[in-house]
Amino acid sequence: MSDSAGLATWVPKFDAWKAEAIPMFGAGKAKEAFASYPWVTTTGDPFVRLDKPASEARFGLITTGGYSIEGQHERFSGLPDFGDSAPDFHAIGLDADPTTFRIDHHGYDHRFAKEDFNANLPLDRLKEMVADGELGSVANDTIVLMGLVPNVAPLVEETIPRIVEKFRSDSVEAALLVPS
């Protein structure tokens, strides 16, 4: 994993920021706290080409919209997690019933997604593009995370390899990433 190398120098900066930021969050000053957030410095330019037309390729979707399915998933906490645990993700099936969708993420306005989940979870659009022959196919499971991951070390070292594994097991050949 190319970005693991940069974490050794980043973690002390993050720990220093966290010590100052956590009391600010407690005081309702999240915006001020994130203004001094130490973005991780990435090195290397990972880039691969798709070796076939999109009309023949299998696409996977990832969103940080914080969706869960009632009765199937544990709720996301909905708030930034400063700890060392790896961020979890939920798998949402291509034909999941949208009436069971729940949004746990407290960091964005849900009114658009509540009106039409395709605004940030575009499953209907992708299915239409497959039906029209624009895309070969769409992965069985969409990967849904919470955004708001200040401690990127466990994300890079644990969660991202799990996402890669999940997509590989679903024969995904290209990925579309939709933040919220």
């Binding site: 994993m1 970005d3 330019d45 990832i62 964005y108 997604a113 605004a119 659009r125 991202i160 990433l177």
Partner: protein, 81 residues
């Protein structure tokens, strides 16, 4: 999200990220990025705007098919709504 894109790309899976907050998404240098003038929470398109949502996805797919090198960006014009 840019780190996830980089991780997938390092594992051999090409990616495209859509962003409505380019200062945040660009900090970690994603391989391919579509920058749109849309709202947080409606990153793909407005509710019910089927054509607009599909336009975002088509432009992401085009980046995956056509971009020649790392750091490719497709960006809405300044006057786009």
């Amino acid at each position: 999200m840019s780190l996830i894109a980089r991780g997938l790309e390092s594992a051999g899976i090409p990616t495209a990220l859509v962003s409505v907050m380019p200062p945040l998404s660009s900090a970690a240098r994603p391989p391919r990025q579509l920058i749109r003038r849309l709202n947080i929470g409606a990153t793909v398109g407005r509710p019910g705007d089927v054509a607009g949502q599909k336009d975002t996805l088509r432009r992401m797919v085009a980046l995956i098919e056509d971009a020649a090198a790392f750091g490719a960006v497709d960006k809405d014009a300044k006057d786009a709504s």
